[in-house]
């Protein structure tokens, strides 16, 4: 039994009210709860107040002026089945379908995925497990077990939809008591496992806007089992237009996804290999994961060339 800590609960009906509540210390948003509640059972978070997104009206997909707008509260299952997503953004549909399991895809939201905590073998564990190791820097401890001589926390960015959304040119819309702003998904994240989001606690993600006229993007996820497991290496690759460059975003190897460009698929795979320095944040050997970055980028590019 892993009981939840106790907390108060509010289900506001406007985003501004939610943002106001989130401005008070110790409060957190809960959407699908598929990551937050597990983390709370592991005592990674013990919020005083949970603010629910369920009455904020953030669920639904619309299309206008060549842009697909997905409410942050839309489930991954709904995104992956939307006809416009299937027709114009198959890489986004594919990314949603690789998250966890079909049951979790029916609970988890796209907003929760973009805001997902960074992950590590020494962090995503029950409180007793972490206590017996003396905890770690990211939560309650003073050392990093992955890089004891390092300069911080290297917990890995693990949100499956982010590499594809990044290369599709998606923007995230945030609302807070300070106003509304749009941030490209490509500039939402920092390379710091403890402070990986460039946002304030009272920023409510309301929607993700994805241009439909984007170029072809491929998505690949390396994992132990074909269901349930998080990625060991996650890649998205974008084909060039008009003699431009190939691009790749690699995730699950560092706190922020990593972007690289190159003239050919082979150079792209090599550039990604050189840019990524995975550490032992996952069970399989980091040296093997580094080699697999090259393999997965090459496979994603090959699939785009043959498509």
């Amino acid at each position: 039994m892993l009981p939840l800590p106790t907390f108060e609960y509010a289900a506001p009906t406007t985003v501004l009210e939610a943002s106001r509540l989130l401005g008070t210390p110790g409060s957190r948003l809960v959407a699908g709860g598929t990551d937050l509640l597990v983390s709370m059972k592991h005592r990674l978070f013990e919020p005083r107040l949970l603010v629910s997104t369920r009455r904020l009206g953030l669920r639904g997909v619309s299309v206008a002026d060549g842009v697909l707008s997905v409410g942050a509260g839309t489930t991954l299952r709904e995104v992956a089945r939307h006809p416009t997503v299937l027709e114009h953004l198959p890489s986004l549909a594919a990314a949603c379908r690789t998250v966890a399991t079909p049951t979790i895809q029916g609970m988890a939201t796209l907003g929760g995925n973009l805001m997902l905590d960074t992950r590590c073998l020494y962090y995503n564990q029950p409180a007793g497990w972490r206590a017996s190791l003396g905890y770690c820097l990211k939560r309650e401890g003073t050392v990093c077990h992955v890089a004891p001589k390092g300069r911080g926390c290297y917990a890995a960015h693990s949100a499956d939809t982010v590499p594809a959304l990044w290369l599709l040119g998606a923007e995230a819309e945030f609302v807070s008591v300070r106003g509304v702003r749009r941030i490209p998904v490509s500039s939402m994240y920092h390379d710091d496992g403890m402070a990986w989001l460039r946002l304030e606690p009272d920023d409510v993600l309301t929607a993700v806007h994805v241009p439909l006229a984007g170029r072809a993007v491929g998505h690949r996820k390396l994992r132990t089992r074909q269901a349930i497991d998080y990625a060991l290496v996650l890649v998205a690759v974008r084909a060039p237009v008009d003699g431009g460059l190939w691009s790749a975003v690699v995730s699950s190897v560092s706190p922020s996804p990593i972007f690289v460009e190159a003239a050919t698929p082979a150079d792209l795979a090599e550039a990604a290999f050189r840019a990524c320095q995975p550490l032992s944040t996952h069970l399989p050997a980091a040296t093997w994961r580094k080699k697999m970055v090259r393999v997965e980028v090459a496979r994603a590019a090959a699939a785009l060339t043959s498509a």
Partner: protein, 172 residues
Amino acid sequence: MSDSTNEAAGERVVALTVNGDSVRRLCPSSRTLLDFLRVDLGLNGSKHGCDVGDCGACTVLVDGIPRLSCITLAVEVEGLAVRTIEGAGPDEARIVAAFDEHVASQCGYCTPGIVLCLSHLYSEDPAADDEAIRQALGSNICRCTGYTKILAAARAASQREASQPAQGGSDE
């Protein structure tokens, strides 16, 4: 739509339907739907497995869609319709019969979750093929059967005309 915020700190009234019956209870905000069903309502069909979203033993249907009740707050299903294995109808009975015939259940701990996932799958795709069945059951872990008999039972319960032989899929 009433927002029940007037209760003592941390406790709220939750009103929902469970297997067609209206239920109204005062419960702590931190109560999971699984504990709400098992402890508050005495419905023990939904099983307590991993407690963290990995195994699918606690699966119930909320407004017809599978949900893991161990990582769902009872307060978050306020106003919705929950169906557990205790509310099994003819669709589930057909699946359970196939499980009996193919001996697809040993300890039975995973069975309620799997039956509800399959019942949801067939409600959308009555003739689901092996690939669709495998995909859907990616949500559920069984420690006993080795899955072969579960797949055989699921195939028998699907309304597909010509049953295809099971083949080594990519997920093995």
